[in-house]
């Protein structure tokens, strides 16, 4: 290998804080966010075209619990941010059980709020069903169920990621991988932003 | 220099390069031959708007032919000349380099795109941007798995409503008409053949019964999909008496290949006779 005969070249390079894999984690999650956004754009354009295709658009009154759910999700982003701040200074080389415990606690709060959101979304479905609005009842209800289900599925993936990070904190403490946690936080916040956007669409279009 | 794969083939390699050039030229000329000899062409045009389409097709064929033959022959020539040359042969770059290629592409293709796109849109406009004449003969076509049916509005000039739940092929009620309750449906004339008078504009209303279909008459230079749920139409004028095939071109199920009907273009008098005859059969 020609590169190894010139060690002086490598030794002269300046050290950087972030390793390539942390960079890749970050790129990866943003790329993932792009693709998820695109898929929701596809659903929304389907909604827009479907609305124009036929005069059968009947307005849905959104269950009020949706707003409580939204609050829960936004709060969960706040608790996640608290967790991030607690864990940011934790380095792999030094044991810092106080910070880890704090971070873990805030994460548990995030998880709880996330689960509350999911439960609330399910309750909203039940309330709609009680009104006689099911998946195939009309075009509006179809889109309501599809959009909330798709968001919910993606949020469950976020919850799985939270659980994973929490398990790593339990198992290896301060040696947990920051890049995975950071990717999870970016994803979770995106779920919140996405939900706000979907809520706006549901309110104005359905 | 170890080039394991080249071992054993020796001088045959430059013969391969020359063979490529020869085979390519033969293929290119053989491909162009049937076109040059007009061996495979659309059938004669019996429409008023089709000549613009045919002209566009010829123009495009000329440009495409030039591009096709030019590129293949240049490829063949360069491979002939510049493959497996002597060891140490001098490498050259095409004069003008990439800049020239970019400029040529932009100028030539740009001009072609402009010409075909802008000038060619007239042929499209003739079909789609001109509204049908107010005195055009209105006929409704229904496409369903796997037949076309055509309906004439009859003396009242109005089509009766279509009731999908009343469609009964066994009793020849293809359109789902309800003459008992709809006055307008009573004089509607249904036919399995699209019969029209020559030199008279026809406004064809298109209704799909079940899935997507398409209406294509080669001689008429008209092709248009039937879309379930959409009220589409085309209008055209046939200029030659005769019988022409209508084929379905949108995959609609197992009978798609067999879904066809006939366009029968008649003299005006014959058409009126035919219409009277058909009316009495309803």
């Amino acid at each position: 290998m020609s590169s190894t005969t010139y060690p002086s070249v490598r030794a002269a390079a300046a050290p950087k804080v972030r390793s390539a894999h942390a960079e890749a984690s970050r790129s990866g999650i943003w790329v993932g966010i792009c693709t998820i956004t695109m898929s929701f754009m596809a659903f929304l354009s389907a909604l827009y075209v479907r609305q124009g295709a036929s005069a059968d658009w009947t307005h849905i009154v959104l269950p009020r619990i949706l707003y409580l759910n939204t609050l829960a999700l936004l709060l969960s982003s706040a608790t996640l941010e608290m967790s991030r701040r607690a864990l940011a200074p934790v380095s792999g080389s030094e044991v810092d059980s106080v910070a880890v415990r704090k971070g873990f606690a805030w994460l548990s709060g995030t998880l709880a709020l996330g689960l509350l959101f999911v439960a609330g979304q399910y309750e909203a479905w039940r309330q709609l069903a009680a009104q006689g609005l099911y998946l195939a009842t009309n075009a509006n209800s179809s889109f309501y169920y599809v959009l909330t289900a798709m968001h919910g599925l993606h949020l469950l993936a976020g919850i799985a990621a939270l659980l994973f990070v929490m398990s790593r904190l339990l198992l290896v403490g301060n040696r947990f991988r920051h890049s995975t946690f950071e990717a999870t936080t970016i994803y979770w916040h995106f779920m919140g932003v996405l939900w706000l956007f979907l809520l706006l669409v549901l309110r104005t279009k359905l | 220099m170890e080039i394991a794969a080249r071992v054993g083939l020796g001088e045959r390699l430059d013969a391969m390069g020359k063979l490529f050039a020869i085979v390519l030229v033969i293929i290119a000329l053989a491909s162009a031959y049937p076109i040059a000899k007009h061996m495979y062409v659309p059938p004669e045009d019996i429409s008023t708007h089709g000549h613009a389409i045919d002209d566009q097709l010829s123009d495009t064929m000329a440009e495409a032919g030039f591009a096709f033959l030019g590129a293949q022959i240049i490829l063949a020539f360069f491979v002939w000349k510049f493959s497996e040359r002597k060891e140490g042969a001098k490498l050259k770059n095409f004069p003008g380099g990439a800049k020239l290629m970019v400029s040529v592409a932009f100028i030539i293709v740009g001009a072609e795109v402009f010409a075909l796109g802008v000038l060619g849109q007239k042929a499209w406009a003739n079909v789609y941007f001109t509204p049908p004449r107010p005195d055009a003969l209105q006929i409704q076509a229904q496409a369903g798995q796997f037949a076309f049916y055509f309906r004439y509005p009859g003396a009242d000039g109005k089509f009766g409503a279509i009731h999908p739940d009343k469609i009964d092929e066994g009793n020849q009620n293809f359109f789902g008409l309800d003459p008992a309750n709809d006055i307008e449906a009573r004089d509607d004339i249904v036919s399995g053949e699209l019969t029209i008078p020559v030199n008279r504009e026809v406004h064809l209303l298109m209704h799909a019964k079940d899935v997507g279909h398409s209406f294509y008459v080669r001689e008429l230079r008209i092709q248009q999909d039937f879309v379930p749920g959409l009220d589409l139409s085309v209008h055209f004028t046939a200029t030659k008496i005769g019988r022409y095939e209508i084929v379905c071109t949108q995959l609609c199920g197992l009978g798609h290949y067999n879904m066809k009907a006939y366009l029968s273009v008649m003299a005006q008098d014959d058409f009126e006779k035919w219409l009277k005859q058909k009316a009495s059969e309803q």
Binding site: S19, G28, A42 | V7, I53, Q56, L75, G110, Y128, H256
Partner: protein, 589 residues
């Protein structure tokens, strides 16, 4: 800590045990080979289906012995029914577009060579990478299951237009569970592709070795990178479309189905949906998809051509910018599949302009390839022959696109064999030629043994001549008005065209037979091929700086440093007329 471009000690542990090494492998090289094998299996099936189709078209009542074993209902007594013909057609298209053309040039070669060519030890997310392959394999198995179920595969074509594909069993044979399996399979395929694309992008952005700037990446790496950007967004649209289709079919929704449809004498309960919505969603994915099919082959062919010519292209940068612009324009043209679909005719003109404009970068690329041949010292071998064949095929296929890009001409050519000729030449031949070229070129690196050159060249001649014999006549048929997707030709005007159809069928069966030479070569060379050295083609890029086959971590734990652009050919190097990318010797001026 570490430099931004350096990697930690190991991306993943060295594999141990048969399962970890060859089955559930995290190694991008194994995954690349797995994708290749899947593509190979799919192309054999797809090609076999095309033989059945071509046979049926010219000898519709002749018994094909044994076919009744594949389907008692579809081919009773070995004679294909009209509906089964459509099933074969649907599966042929689906297998070829998804499991061959998206797999082989992109997922297979890209997975194998992208990390190596940028100097990385593996992909950024090896576990996701493994998942992407197995997900794709599951999608394949779900699709193929449609052959086995009683009702058979769907008959709505790979394009699955609604409402035919959406109303369910009433629409015809195979439109019950067969169609459901199609929808599920493609949805799963989308997920696999998205995982793969994600990996390619993150790896290219962040795992490049020191000195490997973006512009120093080989052209094929760029092609895979651009393709993965397109795939990331395109499959993200197909997945929702499939979900909505499955809901219409199984949950009673009406996204694509309007009211009042009477199918098989049954009034369908749906209402308000738009069949055109399906077409828009599908083609918004579908057009970028065909560029996903061709761009990697463009990159592979450029890469091989440069090596064979012993001189760089007139400009690699221009080629890369052209690929980027093709990728960009590909999003604006989807309506050209829908000129006569019933959408607003003014939209048709709007779509026509960017479609015609794509000709510009495509022409630039072709002129650069041609112009670069001038003054070269081209080495002829199986790989370079297929690369040259690609150029020829790309021109032929591209030129017919010129006709179809104009809505007025499309009135006459839409849904005829002209269209079928066009897309087979660009996708079915040109793209596959890129795969062949890549196989002959890289087989030695991947397996440690070279493919047999004589057999390779024979394979080339038979395939090059054969595919022209098959697909050029399609254009003539289309000009006369031969309609596509017909299981028999019962139109009055078809009689005189049957001899040409017979010619095509014989060419197809012969060319298909010739592919056994390739298959034999693949298998034989694995055991008996000449041992491959590290750099049998005297190449400059990083894959030629490592052993054949490479160790599990590509560079043996070392980190390559890059000093040059990827195509230092025709210069005085220490090893010959080239300088490798990681060689510290000075570049040519």
């Amino acid at each position: 800590m570490q430099e931004a471009s350096a990697q930690p000690a190991h991306v993943h542990a060295p594999p141990e045990g048969f399962i970890r090494k060859h089955v559930f492998s995290l190694d991008h090289k194994v995954i690349g080979k797995q994708y290749y094998a899947l593509g190979l299996l799919a192309v054999c099936m797809g090609m076999g289906l095309s033989w059945l189709m071509r046979f049926h078209l010219v000898w519709p009542t002749t018994r094909i012995p044994g076919l009744e074993l594949l389907s008692k209902v579809g081919a009773p007594g070995g004679v294909i029914t009209p509906e089964y013909y459509l099933s074969l057609l649907t599966m042929h298209g689906t297998l070829m577009v998804f499991f061959v053309l998206t797999n082989a040039p992109f997922a297979a070669f890209g997975n194998y060579f992208l990390p190596i060519q940028i100097g990385a030890e593996d992909m950024a997310f090896p576990r996701f990478n493994m998942m992407s392959f197995w997900t794709t394999l599951v999608a394949f198995l779900v699709l193929v299951l449609a052959f086995v179920i009683p009702d058979g595969p769907p008959i709505s074509g790979w394009t699955s237009y609604a409402p035919l594909s959406a109303v369910g069993q009433d629409a015809g044979p195979g439109m019950g569970w067969g169609m459901n399996l199609w929808g599920i399979s493609i949805a799963i395929f989308c997920i696999g592709s998205l995982l793969g694309a994600l990996n390619f992008i993150a790896t290219t952005l962040d795992l490049r070795a020191k000195g490997m700037t973006l512009m120093r990446m080989p052209i094929c790496t760029w092609a895979w990178f651009i393709t993965s950007c397109i795939a990331l967004l395109a499959f993200a649209v197909l997945l929702p479309a499939c979900i909505l289709l499955i809901l219409d079919r199984t949950a009673g929704t009406s996204f694509f189905i309007p009211s009042g449809l009477v199918v098989s004498d049954r009034l369908q309960p749906h209402s308000g949906g738009s069949p055109l919505l399906w077409q828009h969603l599908f083609w918004f994915f579908g057009h970028p998809e065909v560029y996903i099919a061709i761009l990697p082959s463009m990159g592979i062919v450029s890469h091989i051509l440069i090596n064979s010519m012993r001189k760089p292209l007139l400009s690699s940068k221009v080629i890369i910018y052209c690929m980027m612009s093709i990728g960009f324009l590909s999003w604006m043209v989807w309506g050209h599949h829908m000129f006569v679909s019933g959408m607003n005719p003014f939209s048709s003109l709007l779509f026509s302009f960017p479609t015609l404009t794509i000709t510009i970068p495509a022409t630039i690329m072709t002129l650069i390839w041609l112009g670069s041949l001038y003054g070269a010292n081209l080495r002829i071998n199986a790989a370079s022959l297929f690369a040259l064949g690609f150029i020829s095929m790309f021109v032929s296929g591209g030129v017919s696109g010129f006709f179809l890009a104009q809505p007025s001409i499309d009135i006459v050519l839409h849904a005829t064999y002209f269209v079928v000729g066009h897309f087979h030449m660009v996708m079915g031949v040109a793209s596959i030629f890129g795969v062949f070229a890549g196989t002959y070129f890289w087989y030695g690196k991947m397996t440690g043994r070279m493919m047999n050159e004589k057999l390779g060249q024979l394979h080339f001649w038979l395939t090059f001549i054969g595919t022209y014999c098959i697909f050029m006549p399609f254009h003539y048929l289309g000009l006369v008005g031969n309609i596509r997707r017909y299981s028999s030709f019962v139109n009055d005007f078809m009689g005189p065209l049957m001899p040409l159809h017979k010619f095509i069928t014989i060419a197809a069966l012969s060319t298909g037979a010739a592919q056994f030479i390739f298959l034999f070569n693949l298998i034989y060379s694995h055991f008996k091929g000449k041992p491959a050295s590290e750099n049998p083609w005297e190449g400059t890029t990083l894959e030629w700086s490592i052993p054949s086959p490479p160790p599990w971590n590509n560079f043996g734990g070392k980190h390559p440093v890059i000093y040059h652009d990827p195509y230092q050919y025709g210069v005085k190097g220490s090893k010959g007329d080239y300088i490798m990318q990681d060689s510290p010797e000075p570049s040519a001026s």
